[in-house]
Amino acid sequence: MSAAILLLIGLGLMTLGYFIYSRFIANRIYRLDPDFRTPAHEFEDGIDFVPTNRFVLWGHHFTSVAGAAPIVGPAIAVIWGWLPAFIWVVMGTIFFAGVHDMGAVWASVRNKAKSVGSLTGDVVGKRARSIFMIVIFLVLLMVNAVFAVVIAKLMMSFPTAVLPVWGAIVVALIVGQLIYRRMISLPVVSVVGVVALYALIWAGPSVPIQMPAEVAGLSGNAIWILLLFLYAGVASVLPVWMLLQPRDYINGLQLFVGLLILYGAIMLLNPALVAPMINDDVPAGTPSIVPLLFVTIACGAISGFHGLVSSGTTSKQLNKETDARFVGYFGAIGEGCLSLAAILVACAGFASLTDWKAMYSAFGQGGVTAFVQGGAYVIHNGLGLPEVTAATLLTVMAALFAGTTMDTGLRLQRYIFQEWGEIYHQEWMKKPLPATLLAIGSCLLLAFGAGGADGSGGMIIWPLFGTTNQLLAGLTLLVITVMLVHYRRPMWYTLLPLCFLLVMTVTALVIQLKTFYDQQNYFLLGLDIVVLIAAILVALECAAALKRHLALAAAEQADGR
């Protein structure tokens, strides 16, 4: 099978999804109204509530939701063959992610731009809100731990990328100062920033920096993890204009450039997919494809994290309600395209099936390394860039994504600790520094607790992260469904994805429970049990809320209201 044809099929299906299915959902189910006064207009304050051009808003929404997860998940999941991953990413984007993301924006806009968390409290109930907070905390915890492990692994395997990845931070710091002090205008700064980043990528291969295998009794991997958290901790307490803002900006530009390079290389080279369509010969120890495929690929098919972005920030800036379709649904499609590229390079970027099998020697292997190596192969042969430079480029792309998500995730986790300090009247916990330390401590505990002292095995929590993320998406879908019941509109378009997600997450959790027990990994076993309890509570809450609200809607109908 040729990669370019598969790419075109995927893009074609997603285009159809946007023009047909999303139009149907927007007009018939959510009934987006161009005359509805959105919160951005109703509460306009120039700070949080600002009506924003929809292309700009889409750019922000897309770059906030696109991280390393839509790359890592699919690049792990192709171990079952390219077809299952391809189908789940394309169908998931069309029927799950798009509906979920657009729905989250819509639900929030219709409720004074509240976040999904507080919406759950208002629409479903207090209990559901508490579950929601716990699930959010778990997702953030796992995101931070897993991404630290991902970056550390990249730094160890691709020492040529160390200079550009850390140099990017310096570039961002300088760009931040240049803009803040209004020394040169933004268009110039943008060009200079991107050129500086690519110059660093170009210089990377001549200055490889390899962390020794062991430093002061700790493995090199562990040192990188500690350094990353040190960085993320500092970044999350610095003023945003200093580091986060310029970093996000350059990263956003780099995302579009990187995607163009990848897609261009795939189209020019048109490599054959060496990986099997469906892998009958999976390595020993690989779990069953159902349900694990559906939690391994979370972002890229459907992800609860998107609901947080949609309802927390995007909904406050939506100019017209009808823009929700472009921003939410098309944002999900953008993410689907990134996942599609990850699948293609992880399946076509190898010279032979033997090479591919050597990379995917066990479940959890491959992943981002396969993305970098496969992508480098495709770019090298398609665009003629030296292979080591191409590998550095993709490593930087993946590491920067993971890094920005870590910055944001740690900041959000700090807010949660501060909020708990407020609820439980712990003065010390309200302060930024102790709250940040608590956040870092809990992430480190997970990264090392799950993967042993060198932190290299941290990737085994990946499916667990996917599960928790799907659970979050399920809660958001529940809020949307209950709202639809209230408006007496068809609820199946959100209820079916919700049921599917719940069945897949619960079975995946039970299967993993056995795996962790067999591995005698009691730390993850405990975590699995916590997530499982949350999942069961979510399922019960769904059943109870729907029953209650269906009865309510029926009673209202009987009253003739």
Binding site: G59, P187, Y249
Partner: protein, 93 residues
């Protein structure tokens, strides 16, 4: 024709600049505006505190600078033609 093209080019540039600037600032507009508001609040409190009946914390917190300023203060009141310190709580001679 050339002028027309120049016009178009300028319009395109300003459009590009608008998108870049929005892209840079809109995500963090809220966070920056909030921290600016906090700074402004503190500034207002320091400047107008006595007017609002709140003792100015600045004089309390700068008390420990007194020994460092003593010499210069002494020179200053001599230059101004005052034999002794004009302030009761700041005696240097």
């Amino acid at each position: 024709m050339a002028a027309d093209r120049g016009e178009k080019w300028r319009a395109w540039l300003s459009q590009a600049r608008f998108f870049l600037e929005e892209a840079y600032s809109s995500r963090y507009r809220g966070a920056i505006a909030r921290s600016r508001r906090d700074h402004d609040d503190l500034f207002m409190l320091l400047v107008f505190s006595e007017m609002m009946g709140v003792p100015n914390p600045a004089s309390y917190y700068t008390l420990e600078l007194q020994p460092l300023l003593l010499e210069r203060f002494h020179d200053w009141h001599r230059r101004m033609g005052m034999e002794h310190s004009p302030l009761d709580h700041f005696r240097c001679c």
